[in-house]
């Protein structure tokens, strides 16, 4: 049984087809990346899965259970963690306290939450930022903080919305190495990426390509990037014949 099933889901905002009739599945400990240009519908899809936005049509199932109409906090308690594309740190709390909030999902004790938070912080190699307030940290650190906070909830499924966007290549690749280790934490992850393809090639087991809200390709990363319709979506029709 798939961990996550997206079943013919659509979401329209006025005349904009943000997500249109999209179906795919994610299995346990699998790394799936959704790629697509800006506006392809990746963030909307994540918002649909986590209950921040309600689907117009279709169903979303998680571990066999219909979660189409769940609220965001309940989705999180079921084991779906997420990061935000536009980082949303708890600015006046320290990095450690930010991560503790995730850890509080499984313990009511502050000292235990702190211990668990430190494990996650160590995994993401952010120890030196731990005691600092999140306010004013560099973007690379804030991107990692998004992951740390979500990972501390010990999710079974993690939705990583553009976690490497805006990072220099070296930092993006360093983060990719860590993301590739997420299955060690028992996590299946769905990443959304606009164009940092090195990261996708390094981490993804499978790739789903969205264009204007429609799923146009799906498969192993090295196959998908050579499909003509994918090249067309990214580079325009005239590159379609030439290939990459």
């Amino acid at each position: 049984m798939a961990l996550l099933e997206i079943d013919r889901v659509s979401k329209h905002f006025g005349g904009v087809r943000a997500v249109h009739d999209v179906s795919f599945a994610v299995h346990e400990k699998e790394m799936v990346f959704i790629v697509g240009p800006n506006g392809a519908g990746k963030t909307t899809l994540f918002n649909l899965i986590t209950g921040f936005v309600r689907a117009d049509e279709g169903a979303i199932r998680y571990a066999g259970r219909d979660i189409t109409r769940l609220t965001p906090d309940r989705a999180a308690r079921l084991g779906i963690g997420r990061t935000f594309q536009i980082v949303k740190p708890l600015r006046n709390l320290t990095v450690e306290e930010n991560v503790m909030l995730g850890a509080f999902q499984h313990t009511g004790r502050a000292d235990e939450a702190r211990r668990r938070a430190r494990e996650v912080i160590a995994f993401l190699k952010m120890e030196r930022w731990g005691p600092l307030p999140a306010l004013g940290l560099p973007l690379a650190t804030l991107k990692r903080l998004e992951i740390a906070r979500a990972l501390a909830t010990r999710p079974k499924l993690m939705l990583l919305d553009e976690v490497v966007a805006g990072l220099p290549t070296g930092e993006a690749m360093a983060l990719a190495e860590l993301l590739a280790r997420l299955p060690e934490w028992g996590v299946a992850a769905v990443g959304g990426v606009e164009h940092v393809m090195q990261v996708v090639m390094r981490v993804a087991h499978r790739v789903v390509v969205l264009d204007h809200g429609v799923l146009i390709a799906e498969g192993p990363p090295d196959e998908v990037v050579h499909k003509p319709e994918v090249i067309e979506a990214y580079l325009g029709a005239k590159y379609k014949e030439r290939g990459l």
Partner: protein, 310 residues
Amino acid sequence: MTRRQLLLALAACAACALLPLVVQKDYQLNVLFRIFLFAALGLAWNLVGGFTGQLSLGHAAFFGIGAYGLALFHGKLGVPVWPALALAVAAAVVASVLIGGVAFRLRGPYFALATIAFAEVLRNVAKNLPDVTGGDVGVQAPPLFAGAISRSFYFAAVGLTACSLAVTAWAARSRFGYYLMAIRENEDTALSVGVNATRSKVSVLAISAALTAVGGALYASLFLYIVPDQVLAIDISNEIAIVAMLGGAGTVLGPIVGAIILETASEVFKNVFHEAHLLIYGVLILLVVLFLPEGIVGALKTLRRRRGKG
């Protein structure tokens, strides 16, 4: 709690307990009552307005329900005074759940406006139901203490402050408190880690309302007579919020510092400047908003953090 904090707390308790040995005049004890009353109210408000970041400008609603609850449960229904106080608190909690359930659907300034509206509705209801509340004429409130009245009320206010402080200190380091701060910092983030934001907000408002209602009942019982324009007035809502913000919203000790400064200043100004005291009070608040937006304790914390870094 560290050893040092525990010792400081014990010392503060001892000082508060011994103060009436030095201060014996009713007037002075009543000023102290007012300081501690507003310290307690400011702490109660701070749970909602400071820690959770939900700017309530309608806490007079809970204050008034406490005051009227005590007066009416005792005076109209013949409930003994202490059970009447308990019922008044329960009424405030019920009101807070109703108000919170509606107002927390709104964010930012709209929430603040909704809280003002609720308090104003209650004030007008109290004014226009003469058979129940005595209307504009008011109603008698029963005395909670007999003998050494000023001193008893002083101790009651100190006790309420200690209670509010204990709740705050617990909230500052418990999971519940972290949930509240997460909601203040970013509600979407709080939801994304599984925090039931609505339930947390309603719960904290209920705790705050209960403490505020006790304060209102104490106030009513000290003055023995209450009218809507006094205990349900928007001035009460403002004063509670200003005490907390002056001292430092979201800090543990801020509201106590705020109450000491604001209530002392307003008493001094009243005696020295007579009618001009409200003007000076207003200027003082303006200066704090302009130059100490984090409040006094908040500014000190920032200063210490910067020193620590540099």
